[in-house]
């Protein structure tokens, strides 16, 4: 409706260099070329920020690694102690040690079964899925 106000359109397209698709594309290419350095800098900054904030895949993995390592260290400590005691005294010592240390039930179970915990055991234990 607005365009019918004066009934005739004034053709100003001669002043529009972007009416020509080739000229338009060339202009866009020049702008992108000039902006390439700034865009690259921004990509670098964003990548660095993600790593710093732990938002990347590596950051998430690093977050996971910490409790897993802590659990592994605990198991190693307990296992090492158990190996140092004599076989004959092991059962008594173990139960005594477990009681004394008030270890969580999954760890107690691994020790009594004399087996190395699997990854699933560690995850379940860390999540408290077995009552820890």
């Amino acid at each position: 409706m607005e365009r019918d106000e004066l009934n005739e359109r004034i053709d100003l397209s001669a002043l529009d260099p972007f009416a020509d698709p080739a000229a338009r594309d060339a202009f866009v290419a020049r702008v992108l070329d000039r902006g390439a350095f700034e865009l690259a800098r921004r990509r670098r900054d964003t990548a660095g920020e993600r790593l710093w904030n732990g938002g990347s895949v590596f950051g998430v993995m690093a977050g996971w690694a910490r409790p897993a390592l802590a659990a592994a260290a605990l198991v190693l400590l307990v296992s090492g102690y158990a190996l140092r005691t004599g076989r004959a005294q092991q059962q008594e010592a173990q139960s005594g040690l477990i009681e004394a240390m008030a270890l969580p039930s999954p760890v107690e179970q691994w020790l009594s079964e004399e087996r190395t915990p699997t990854t699933a055991d560690l995850i379940l234990t860390l999540e408290g899925g077995t009552g820890w």
Partner: protein, 182 residues
């Protein structure tokens, strides 16, 4: 319609070249027409538009309302054009020089008549106020509605309607039979 300007601005902030290109394609003509309305020189307006787009990228964090990126870009283009005019002392009566920097002619006769038309248009437009030129460019070349122009320029719709009307009437008088029908 693709992604909103707001999304494209956020992606551009992270260095997404495709997003920035889309913003450029969407709004370069608006920035160019703003610059042209101040400079009256096609080539200078192109240069200023390019500078404005790069400045927008470099300062894109300053775009506090990403959904209004176009209005923000227009303000940058206006400032750039103002600085350009002051620095270079560009006068509006340089149409032939401007025409020299346009894409190479494929049809000399047609391009010669186009250059002549451009000269006449710029000469007629030079008699308008800057606001009138800006409004009529956005209305006629970019095809925006009065309300859209008002939002971009930060004016009331009634004012835009008035500017466009005055500009069109003046151009019709100046140009006579030069312009064709749409």
């Amino acid at each position: 319609m693709g992604e909103t300007d707001a999304i494209l601005v956020l992606r551009s902030r992270r260095g997404d070249a495709a997003a920035f290109e889309e913003l450029v394609r969407r709004h370069m003509r608006k920035a160019y027409l703003t610059a042209l309305s101040q400079l009256g020189d096609v080539a200078a307006a192109e240069d200023v538009t390019q500078d404005a787009l790069i400045a927008a990228l470099e300062r894109i964090e300053d775009c506090r309302e990403p959904e209004h990126f176009a209005a923000w870009l227009i303000r940058i283009a206006r400032n750039k054009a103002h600085n350009y005019r002051r620095r270079e002392r560009v006068r509006s009566a340089l149409p032939l020089e401007a025409a020299d920097r346009l894409p190479a002619a494929s049809d000399p006769l047609r391009d010669a008549s186009r250059d002549e038309l451009r000269k006449q248009l710029l000469s007629a437009l030079d008699t308008l106020t800057e606001r009138q030129r800006e409004a009529v460019y956005l209305f006629e070349v970019e095809g925006l509605r009065h309300a859209e122009i008002a939002e971009l320029l930060g004016l009331k719709e009634g004012n835009v309607r008035y500017h466009v009307f005055q500009a069109r009437r003046a151009l019709r008088e100046k140009l006579g039979g030069v312009y064709g029908e749409g």
